[in-house]
Symmetry: C2
Subunit: 167 residues, 2 copies
């Protein structure tokens, strides 16, 4: 299950224990997503409207602890909702920036090592993973990765707190 | 502007009138999306969580009137919300199917002529188009189109009203 996958990533080589949790085991869409994230070696750029899935937050925290440069852009209105993992990730020392608009920062994509784009309809929430009909595209074509990487850098600069307007 | 684009598509060759509407003119993300939709000659398969943008609904209706086979899958909870265009499209004779779950049918994709996939974070709402930060991918690689076309056919069958359970 996903808990065993995260435990193995946190302590490689530790003896595997049978997992008592009720999460689906084997090859699920969530475990495939987590495996792709855990493949990051240098950088992980996240642009996520809503982020409340604890397992995905643990994967991101693990990468941060391993020395991967994690940057996270999120939506100002959704980051404060019940169950949001943003506070926990900030607390762990991960750089987070958010919009300052009334509209939503509605992207849901991740870029691993500036070479693999993970994007689609999926918000990183337990509700979406467990109950919704969703799609996630994993793309390594440089053309697509470049367009999303450029959008990420644009947003990252635009949401720099140094640019906040105070009234 | 988008109104002029739709007027020209509805009545090709009619003399263009200067448009008094306040919509942005020229090449916008919305006009590019509408142009891609209007390129449909045989089929348009839509899988849309939320659909309230009147201009996009008019483009879809136009295609239906032209004889393009339009099929629309949507979310049961969102289709009834204020401003939803689903009722209008059904009224125009377009086939619509929806889920029967508590989870969301959260996809936001369109397939034009079974060869062009349009997908991303964008719900087809005026709020999203005017105010949000969004992405729309237009993909013609057969591999991606095939995966989404298969998902569409799966959902289309699953949401066939003949399969509804009555209690």
């Amino acid at each position: 299950c996903i808990e065993a996958l995260l435990a193995e990533a946190a302590e490689p080589g530790a003896p595997a224990r049978p997992c008592p949790c009720p999460l689906p085991s084997g090859d699920t869409a969530l475990s495939r997503l987590v495996r792709r994230l855990l493949s990051a070696r240098r950088s992980l750029d996240l642009c996520l409207f809503s982020f409340s899935c604890p397992q995905l937050a643990r994967a991101v925290q693990l990468l941060h602890r391993r020395g991967v440069r994690v940057r996270l852009v999120t939506d100002a209105q959704y980051m404060g909702l019940h169950g949001s993992q943003i506070g926990r990730l900030r607390h762990a020392g991960i750089q987070v920036r958010h919009d300052q608009h009334s509209g939503y920062m509605h992207h849901k994509f991740a870029i691993v090592d500036r070479r693999m784009l993970i994007t689609g309809s999926l918000n990183w929430t337990t509700q979406a993973i467990q109950s919704n009909r969703e799609n996630v595209l994993v793309v390594e074509d440089a053309e697509y990765v470049k367009a999303f990487q450029e959008e990420f850098e644009r947003i990252w600069e635009e949401y720099n707190p140094a640019n906040y307007r105070f009234f």
